[in-house]
Each structure stands twice: as C-alpha cells, then as structure tokens.
Symmetry: D2
Subunit: 337 residues, 4 copies
Amino acid sequence: MIVVLKRDISKSELEQLQQKLQKAGCEFQLFEDGESILRIKSKQNWLSVDFFLSQPGVQNAYRITPPYQLSARKSPEQETHIHVGEYVFGPSQFTLIAGPCAVESEEQILATAQALSGNGIRFLRGGAFKPRTSPYAFQGLGIEGLQLLRKAADQFKMKVVTEAVSSADVSVVAEHADIVQIGTRNMQNFQLLKKVGKQKKPVLLKRGMNATIEEFLLASEYILQEGNSQVILCERGIRTFETSTRNTLDISAVPIIKQLSHLPIFVDPSHASGKRNLILPLSRAALAAGADGLLIEVHHQAEVAKSDGPQSINFAAFEELLSSLKAMAPLLNKQIY
Amino acid sequence: MIVVLKRDISKSELEQLQQKLQKAGCEFQLFEDGESILRIKSKQNWLSVDFFLSQPGVQNAYRITPPYQLSARKSPEQETHIHVGEYVFGPSQFTLIAGPCAVESEEQILATAQALSGNGIRFLRGGAFKPRTSPYAFQGLGIEGLQLLRKAADQFKMKVVTEAVSSADVSVVAEHADIVQIGTRNMQNFQLLKKVGKQKKPVLLKRGMNATIEEFLLASEYILQEGNSQVILCERGIRTFETSTRNTLDISAVPIIKQLSHLPIFVDPSHASGKRNLILPLSRAALAAGADGLLIEVHHQAEVAKSDGPQSINFAAFEELLSSLKAMAPLLNKQIY
Amino acid sequence: MIVVLKRDISKSELEQLQQKLQKAGCEFQLFEDGESILRIKSKQNWLSVDFFLSQPGVQNAYRITPPYQLSARKSPEQETHIHVGEYVFGPSQFTLIAGPCAVESEEQILATAQALSGNGIRFLRGGAFKPRTSPYAFQGLGIEGLQLLRKAADQFKMKVVTEAVSSADVSVVAEHADIVQIGTRNMQNFQLLKKVGKQKKPVLLKRGMNATIEEFLLASEYILQEGNSQVILCERGIRTFETSTRNTLDISAVPIIKQLSHLPIFVDPSHASGKRNLILPLSRAALAAGADGLLIEVHHQAEVAKSDGPQSINFAAFEELLSSLKAMAPLLNKQIY
Amino acid sequence: MIVVLKRDISKSELEQLQQKLQKAGCEFQLFEDGESILRIKSKQNWLSVDFFLSQPGVQNAYRITPPYQLSARKSPEQETHIHVGEYVFGPSQFTLIAGPCAVESEEQILATAQALSGNGIRFLRGGAFKPRTSPYAFQGLGIEGLQLLRKAADQFKMKVVTEAVSSADVSVVAEHADIVQIGTRNMQNFQLLKKVGKQKKPVLLKRGMNATIEEFLLASEYILQEGNSQVILCERGIRTFETSTRNTLDISAVPIIKQLSHLPIFVDPSHASGKRNLILPLSRAALAAGADGLLIEVHHQAEVAKSDGPQSINFAAFEELLSSLKAMAPLLNKQIY
C-alpha cells in the first residue's frame, strides 16, 4: 500500500496516523520530499484503501498488491487441475458442459444426455433450482429435477453440473451433482459461497454480471478460504449499454484471469449473448482466447424450452459446433471432451 | 404482448404457433397485412418474450404491459403507507434513517443513538451482518451487533433498521429489528426475498447496483407475493464507467419509480457516492426529486470506522444536513423526521 | 507521479530508466525499501502514466496531481463569472436557458421567445445545425435557423445559445449567437474545441455521454488553452445499462465539478432523461445539488416537434417548473433568471 | 413501425393522429381490439419513434425494420469487397493493418515498414494527426507525418492507413493515404463522415466507444449516402465498468455485424485492451469469431513510444502472433496477409 499525504498535513495529523499504525503492529516507512509518501509494508488485511482515505491529512492510497491471495497465480507454472472421476479440467483440456437451461421432463433430459454422450460429451448441465428475475416465471422442478438429472447422467455415464441457489440447497445439490454451480446473481451471496466452500464437490463459479475481475477473484477466495480448492471460474457476460446481446461477453477476461490466477476459466456464450446464432462464433472465440471449456445450453426442442429458448441450440447445431472446436483445439494445445 | 411474425413465415409454422397458443388456453388475434402481427391478449405469465423469440417464424415480440403486478401503481392516488410504531413512511414524509455502516462497539452505537435522537431522528441503522467483497474485511459483530443496536435504540426510543444477509438470519434479524434491510448484492437472492416476504416486519429493499428499474420492481414482487406488502425501495447508485464516485446515483429512478409504483422510494447517498463531501448535495437532490427518505451513514469518529469510513459523516455534518433538509422539505410538501 | 518498480527490476533496467529521466531534464527521487518507488517531481506533461507503464521494470504508475490545469480550482474562493451583456453566470445565479430542440419556423421561435421572455427568461436556445444519429432525420435549418433565432431573441431582448457542429460553422454561429454550444458528440472533437477557444463568445460545453469527469475537464482545457476563459460546463447524462431513461443523469457530477473546478456547471435534464415528465423533478434536483443553471427544451407544440418531442415541455409546464425553482432558489443562495 | 395506442385515447386524439399521417402521405392501418395498434407501412424516415411518443394518446412505438438502409445486409450472399491496389478486403481474407500508434520519426517508420513488409504485411498504419484526451499530450507530426508514412510505404510496397481528425484534413490525408481512418471519438462527427463520404478512398470507420451497434451502422450510413461504398467497420472496445482493460472488446459485435451488414468488420485489440500481453489471445479470438482483419499497434521500441506504448507489441511478438493466426486462418476459410 502506498499512501500519499496531503501537502498541508499538520504535524499532529501525521503523528496520530503514525501512532495508529504502530499501535496496530503495522510496519511502514515515511518518505519525505515535498509531498510525503507513506509506504505500508505489513500485510494487515484490515488496512484497506478506505481506512487510509478516512484519515485526516491523507490525499490518496494505492494498493500495490492484489487483495486476493489464494486464487492469485504465484508462478507461470502454477495451475489448478480439477479431477471429476476420470476427467480433468485444466490448461491442457477444453471441456464442454452442455444441456438444457432447465430440467423439464424425464424425456427431455434423457434425450439430451443420449445425444450429448453420443458425441463424446461427459458433462451434463441442467437447472433444477432456477433463479428467475420474475416470480411469475418457471422456477424449476427442484429435487425432482436433481433426480432426473442424476438418472440421465448415470444411464449415459455422464457427470452432473447443476446450480445451488441457496445455502439450504447446497447439501442436496452436492449429493446429486458432481460439480456445484453458483450463478451470476449469487456471486456475492457470501453465505452461499462459504457453504459450498465447506463441502467437497468442485464448484463452478459464474462471474456476476456487474462484477469486476478483481471482485470475481475475491468471490472465489470465499470458497477457497473454507478449504475447497476445486474452483472453476466462468465468464458469462457483463452488463453494458449495448442491447443487441443480452450481456456483453468480456472475452478479455479469459486471458486476464489466466495471468492473474491459477484457476481454470470457462466461458458461457449462451447467457452472455442470449442468441443462438452467436453460439458458434463466440465458442470459437473463447477457445482461441485460451478458455479451458464452455458451458452451453442445448435443448432437444429449443422452440418449446421453458426458459432460455432463444439462446439454446439444438443437437444438429451442437454437432456442428463440436466439429469446429475439434478442428481448432490442437492449435491451442487443448484436448476436447 | 405484440408478436411480429417474419415476412416469410410458412403456413405450417403459423399453424403450429396458433395451435400451441390455443392449447395453452391463450387468447390472441392475428392481424394480417404484409407483415403479420399477433396480438396476445391473455395474461399468461409464462408467455414470455423469450417464448415467442424461440418460435420459428417469429421476428420479434414486445411486452406492452409491465411484467410486475403487485408493485405497479394502478392509479395516481394509490400510495403505500408503512407504519412502524407511531411513525409513517409515505408521500407526505421524508424520513431519515441514520447510523454507522457497521455496529462496532457499545460505546459507538450508544453515542450515535444519543446524538441522532437528540436531533429528532427516529430510525437507527447499523450493520451487524456485513456482506463484504473481500473475505479478509471486517464482517460485522453478528448477533452481538443486533443486541447492541436494539439496546441503543430502546434507550433512546428509536427504531432499528438492519440487514439480513442470508435466509438463515432472517428470523433473528426480524426479532431484533423494526425494519429488515436487504442489501444491493442480495436484490436477486430470491430465496432471501421470499423469506423476508413471509415475516411481518417491513422490508427496506436496496436496488442491485446492476439492476434495471424493471428488475428492481420485479424483485420487490417476490416479497409482496409472499404476503408482506410493507416494502420500502431504496436507490443506492448503479455501476457505470465513471470512477470519481463509487457508483452513479441514478436520481431519475426516484421520479420514475414514483410513476410506476405505489411503494415509497428512498435514496442512499452514502453508498452511491462513497464520498462524505457529496452527502449534503445528493441528499438535497434526493428530497428535491421527490424521494420519501434517506439512508445515511453517520459515524461518531468517521476516521476510525471499520468500514465505509470515507463516506460517513460526523455528527456536526449531519446536523448541517438536517437543517438544510428541514428548510427545503415544506416546498416538497414533506414533513421531516 | 509515483512510479512503483517491480521487485525484480534489474540494475540495468533501473539505470536506463534513470538516464532517460535525466536526459529529459526531469527531477525525481528514488526511495528504496523492498519495493522501490520513484517519485517524479517535475511537471513534464509528456511524462504520462503510459510512458512509465511502457518501461521495463515498472509495475505501476499513479498520477497524484490532476492532468488538467487551467480548469482546476486552486482555492475555495476561485469562481469563474461569465458575463453576457448585463447578465452573469456564476455561483450566485441559477440561469435558465430554454427553447426548442431545433428551430423549425419563424412562427415557432417567435412564439417561444415571447412566452419565455414573458416569464423573465433571458436566454433562448434552439438548434440550427443538428447532429443526428441517423442521416435520415431532420438536420436543422442551418444559417436560416441562426437568423430566425437572432431575430426572435432581438425582438424580445433575449440572448442566443446555439450549437456549432463543425469548425467550418464556428464563425457564422459566433456571429449570430451570444453563447456557442458544443454538443455531447463533439466533446472530443478537438479541432472544434480549439476553434471555439480562438473566438471570443462564451462556450457552453456539454459532457460527452461516455466521458468521465476528468475527460470532461480535459476537454474544457482545449478551449481555455486557446485563450477563451469563458467556459460553462453542462452535465447531460451518461450512457449506462438503464433503459427507462435515454441516458442516466449523473447528478453527482455537479458537486464534484464544483469541487474540482472554478467553471460554472449546468444541467440538461431534457437530454439526460428523454422524458418530459421527469423534467420537473430533475430540474429541482439539479438546483438542490448546486448547479448554476439549466438547459431546457421547451416547445410551443411538443407533439409536433421535429426532434426531441418526447422530452420537450410546453409553456404551461415550463411556468410550473419556473415557479417551483423560484421558491427553492433562495435556500441555495441563488438568484433565478 | 408498430404504434400501440393508449386504452383511453380519445376519439379526437385518434382522429388528429390519423389526419397527421394522411397529410404526410403515410400509409397505415388501424387494428382495433381492446388495445389498438397502428401499423405504419410507408417508410417515411422522418416518422421516428420519437414522433409517435410525442403524440397524445400514444403509449409506445416499436421500429420493426432497422433504421439503416445502405449498410443493411439484404441477403446471405451480399458482401462488400474492398479493393486497394491488388489487395482485397472481404469475407475470404483476414487482413492485417499494422504499425505504430503515431509516426514519430523517419527512422521509426522505415524500420517498422521494413519489418512488417518482410513478414508479408501489406498495410502500414500510423497516426499523423492524433486526437488526444489531454491537450498536453503529443499531438502527432501532422503533414510531415503523412509524408514519412507515404515514403516508408512506397519504399516497401505497402499501402497506407491513417486517420483524418477534421474535415479540413480530409483532402490532404486522402492524398497521402490509401485508406482514410475515422477514429472512435469522431464516429458521430457527422460533418467529417460526410466529407470522407465525398472522396474516393476507402474509409476505415472505428466504432465509438459508447456507440451501440445500431448507431455504428447509422454512422456508416452517413458515408455510404454520399456515394462512397468502400467502408470497413472496426470494433475497438466499448466503455464499461471493468477497469482491468482500457475498454471492453465487444467480440459479439463481430458476428452480429456480419449478420446485419454486408460491410467488412475488423477488430482493433490494441485500443480495446490497452495491454500488450492481451494482443495475442484477442487477435486469435477476433479471427475465430469471424472478423475480416485486424488493426494492430506495432512499435520498434515499444518502451519509448510517444503514445500508446503499453499496448504496442514489438516485432518479435508480432511475428509470433502472425504465425499463430496463419495456422488458424484456414479453419475459418480465410487467407491472411
């Protein structure tokens, strides 16, 4: 932390500030030279930028080390590999997690699992608990949805990825799922983050649509701190003024997160764009930018989907997408499944 | 809902669409004229814009009635008045809810309650459970904080406003507080909204920093639907590209919400701006724009506040603010307390 | 400027950096202490943050003095007063500049000038050259519009405020107008800024809808640098994700600009909101936040306006607005005209 | 255009509206059915959404055809091919335009041209007239810069792409350049757009950092309308709340513009990100998303660049990038040069 003091800081203001820091056991050094600079050395995490901005005589404060710690990359080689059964998520893979927005019926989820697994896809997604902007929209099948998902996955030797929307659901979701998803609206539901941090299944954490990358990594820190180191990050679009897509896919977040963190980073082109005819080019772009996988909405009859129909692709479109990604993956030193 | 069909919609696509609507018991009328228009009349809430955009042959769909219902203003006279003890929130009042960001100690909260109540303020705020971006920041005193808040309020005949951050906390918060606050990061924590909708204390719902006004009203709908009609809305700044304030206070949201809804609308200038020297002008602006009250951070020693120090004002600044608002209130036909 | 060096900066990288700075005649001081800090003292304006970020061994650079100079407030007392004939713009006034979005006909502009001047308004606005998003929209009457505006203003002893949209128009606009307006889309049309900086009429500079406050003040600097110190700033809404208003009025910009600069700051509630039923509350809010005046669209028949009809108010609404502002102005120590 | 009338529209309001439309020679049809709908059939461009929103008795108006015309794609096959000497821009190419942000010296631009042309690059970029946020920043060498650029390009058989920042510069820029660039801050400088529309050299139009895709296409329309059909669009990042990149590259704009328009669409990863270590992944993503080329900042000594140093890559990084793109291009059916 670097703290720039005001030119007109009084002697007593400076003394009081130094006393507070000493009392807190904080190491610091004062450089005097016209404008004075205080260099804070000890990593006392409560010493925030806000703390210094609140002190009389302080002009500004700059944090020079990132506020997140466990999620921060310490070396170019550091990489988190996440193991789910015989499968691995990480920098040498490009993993596809596919399925409907919501589990709607046994027929639907079985047909989807069959089609996907027939194409070599090993991760089946589907919402059982659905967080919806309107209370009048379809809210998901709940536990029945979880059971259908598990059954379909088991029948076709797939793994289940599904969302927990409240702390109360975490254990039942973790029981049925192989990976527990945290949605964009819950990225700063800190109680929920702590709860999934305390259980053992890997967590797929979606970026808040209004969250900076720094806040995204801080959110992952809530999970890591509780002892669960199996976190997969997922960029899914941020909110901007542009209205031709539902959100704006922040493709730059992929290489930035690769540089800042050792965690795998996925992309969800379906929620980012809200439009099925953008899924193919955005999926390619995600792979090309270095993402470690995709979360894609696939529906056996997209035109009757109970939610997110406009952004779901059908099986034929999914096969075309897969074939395109398979051709590109070797150039990025990635293996697809 | 108005649905515009593609010029090249096939006869069978149109027939299938009509059959689906009939099967769903939905009233509609087809206007044919070069481009065909389908006018959907029945208010089946599952018939979303998304549903129509997913159908083959549909070009676009426009919702022409708002998606929220209980929070929508039905007439110019309709106004929700919220009663807390002998006090009322509503269009003839301008109510100040003041206090520290976080309850830190008995000394702090008692000093604050004494100073505020001495100025005629009846609503004491303070965080016991603090949602913090970083897991390393101060997270609040928890239940002890609630107890200190209650004790201070009781001693000075004040009412308590404090935040619940998870479903599990709702009952203990509701037990100690007179108004339960839902914070910006939880505006779309739908489980939490339902939970506070099921208890009886009034709810102060803060706008999500990335939420549109429509989404804000839909969030309130989750509470109203559960039977709790005592909802106070609170604008607290939205996230934009401007960095000289923490968020951008959307002052226009005040008159817009007055036009769209019958619920009271408050403003939180402290979180919107993040800067104490903006509190006075923004508070005046809120009153002038028609807000029904303010949520303000006041700290007896702002420079040592454990959170939000830079935006907290001290007692002297609060008195100056109050005096300025009292002079202005009669012009807006508002009574201040 | 404070420059933080990388922990692993090599000796030769550091020497090269110091040599570059010495060669450029730049004063600096090196503080060494684990992480090294370079404090740059001389105000060489080409030494940008970008320059330092480009150097090997540099981790980050922080500008600690604002990049604008002439527009920066040097003391609490420093205030620019702008004189237009017998009228003054400044901190003791609240000046209304009103009129139609575009000059459409002699009848229209005369009727408007008569109604406004009858209410004591002294500044008539109206567009002759209109920058329009679509080439198919009405582009204004050009020089004929300027002449009609001048004629109407002269007949009713008013002053003219109108926009120049290109360098080529500046002299003809300055000839007919008393204040030359620069629109939001031209805030960074630097050639145009320099051109209006070289003529003598006061300039009303509107904030770019995507400009930060710092960029806004830097744009004013282009005018001030050319010798024209008569600049009035105008906040007119920024672009955000919210769609219920055309743009989001950044009301906080008013007190912030008051703190950072000595230039007068106006508000344009018409363009900010795009909705006539928001003009009254937003105008009041602007006054309450400390603005020095308003730019308001008034049309004698708003429903047939050739541009910006939805946000124009009619004469009756204008009179109601004026009466409300007059009641409030004394509380802000402002005189209205 | 579809116009929804208010339920309580009066008979006389409706009659007046119909009369206005008839008088304007506008074809329309009224559908009555509880809520009435007016379907406007004639393409009178002055009939904007704003016109209808200004009429008494109108609730809302929806444009159902895009407001741009010449830039709109009329069929899947329609593609604009732009010829510059023996080179073509279009859907089968992926064209690299590279060079320094600003022309700084003969040595610099010759070294750059030599290195780039040695790698097969045919388009040399460099700014002679620089629009800068601060008046104190380097503003470019002007005409001397144009001459150096031309000389370097001619010596190495390259084509010149450079920016015109004001109408007055257009002819001298067009004289020296092969493609005239319009920068992001000038995307809505309509006088400048018309001026480059009147000359014959192809135009590279960069998206305004705050412009929607619709506004971007409308801006291109100003050029096309004047008779110049040789327009290349360029996505260069939009302004959002995220601060880890200078702007947010809107990668989705690439496939959307491909669907809406027949014009080529480029990507500028340098300005979008502001960071040289993002250029490689974002360039790959642009190609993968279907872009027709790139605009890239390359500097022979990035650490001493007079502008945009942090985002410029050196020759070695450029060669690595080129090699990566060459491997990927065949998968997208693109030829690179």
